[in-house]
């Protein structure tokens, strides 16, 4: 078998300027089940597809509430994600304790980015094998950030990571203009639909395999705390999805008639 000389550790460049361990870590993200994140003017939404390792096991956790103004969706090694989200939780509690304010989203994202970067530059360390979508709310409004094992982070309008996430990204790109103007519930519907795009033929979204997390600005002008929808709580969201799917197909039919 071909042996790569430059992938024994995460601190050595290949002659082509690549760090293979980091790239492998990014492969781990692609192996994880898909998560989708999207924002409009008032809300940030996370949607995740949960897998169960085997028929008899429970479903994995895809979305974690970090603080009342922030949550993360994970794709990749769940245990690495837990380390990161524990750190984020501690930082959030720390900010609330010392300043009495929720930690700004970009601040915590750059903190985990710094930690991830350190792992790619110190001998004996291993990059995190997980990608995160961080959705949160602060004084500047709702935010969505993408985080990669390389330490790369960027603010996104909509994003999907994980297995078959390209399908979701395509959906999001096509509907980007609709997202910004959408309402809270429409945003969730868009998220679910993007998630649905990634499913293989024989699969569909169920209350067992789907997670939805929402955070944003309530009508009162205050922060609407992070809310995680799982199990039966998802039923109204699925109903809204079905309803909007139905009207969509009707629209398409009429369009066809028109042309």
């Amino acid at each position: 078998m071909f042996r790569n000389n430059y992938d024994n550790d995460a601190v050595t460049f290949s002659p082509q300027g690549r760090i293979f361990q980091v790239e492998y870590a990014q492969e781990a993200v692609k192996q994880g089940s898909v998560v989708v994140g999207l924002v409009n003017k008032t809300h940030a939404v996370l949607v995740g597809l949960k897998r169960n390792a085997e028929e008899l096991s429970s479903y994995q956790k895809k979305i974690i509430e970090v603080d009342s103004h922030m949550g993360v969706a994970i794709a990749g090694l769940a245990s690495d994600a837990r380390v990161l989200s524990n750190y984020m939780k501690q930082q959030c509690l720390g900010s609330r304790m010392t300043y009495g304010r929720p930690l700004p989203v970009n601040r915590i994202v750059s903190q985990i980015a710094d930690r991830a970067q350190t792992n790619t530059q110190q001998y004996g360390k291993r990059p995190y094998g997980v990608g995160l979508l961080v959705a949160g709310m602060d004084e500047a409004g709702p935010h969505l950030f993408e985080f990669q094992p390389s330490g790369m982070t960027q603010e996104m309008l909509a994003c999907a990571i994980g297995a078959r996430s390209q399908m979701a990204r395509t959906y999001l790109e096509r509907n980007l203009d609709k997202l910004e103007e959408s309402s809270r519930d429409e945003l969730i519907t868009h998220g679910l639909r993007a998630l649905k795009e990634t499913l293989s033929q024989d699969k569909e979204l169920t209350v067992d395999n789907t997670s939805v997390g929402v955070v944003g600005l309530a009508d009162s002008g205050k922060v609407e705390s992070f809310k995680l929808y799982e199990g039966q709580q998802l039923l109204p969201l699925f109903e809204a999805l079905d309803k909007s799917d139905a009207s969509e197909t009707k629209d398409e039919e009429t369009m066809e008639v028109d042309s």
């Binding site: 509690l93 609330r96 009495g100």
Partner: protein, 258 residues
Amino acid sequence: MTSLLSHNPHTNSIGYSFAQPTNAGNTEHSYTDNGGSVLGITGKDFAVLAGDTRSTSGYNINSRYVPKVFKIGGEDETGKDAHILLSVVGFAADGLALKERLDAVVKMYKYQHGKPMGVRACAQRLSTILYQKRFFPYYVQAILAGLDEEGKGALYGYDPVGSYEREQCRSAGAASSLIMPFLDNQVNLKNQYIPGSGEGHALAARKPEPMSRETVEQLVRDAFTSAVERHIEVGDGLQMLVITANGIEEIYHPLKKD
């Protein structure tokens, strides 16, 4: 409580020539008493925790509204989703620090276990938090309240270093010596006998029965209006938090400001 403060290693009548064993640091300058009183009573399916809102330093009134009763484990600003109450009286800065530590513990418990911390567990944890500072104590008397596993009102009283017990009612702080005997008599019906039930030892004592929420709230108001009359550190406002299966309700009553 004053004995804790008045400890001075140098006022011994005998002038030892060798160094005296002292506390690490000078704890005398590390504490103050911010006065005020708190009181908690439990019922069959509720618990009430109340405290006056005056904050004092010596003869000065710092402020007329500094709450001493806190919601634990809820959201920061609103206290939404809180299911435990904590009151702290004594040194306010320690009280606040204690409250924030317990709040963080309860929040981490929820984060790690995915379910809210029970009052019994929380009560035990508070005791260990206090005891961890056994030799530089949080200078506070704490009362913890909530609903137990069966939905009954639960109340735990503490000393500054973590010794605690579950009780029906408890008063703490400046006017506790005024309020506690009143509670003994009115809640636990101490020294109350059934008239004509017998002579001498045959005289039957009245048995305490669970009280309604209205009765308890009225008792709390009476206890505080009376304490205000006789204690200078108590007054300004009465903050009363009632915890039931439906959540936490906050009631404010003005008290005399003199």
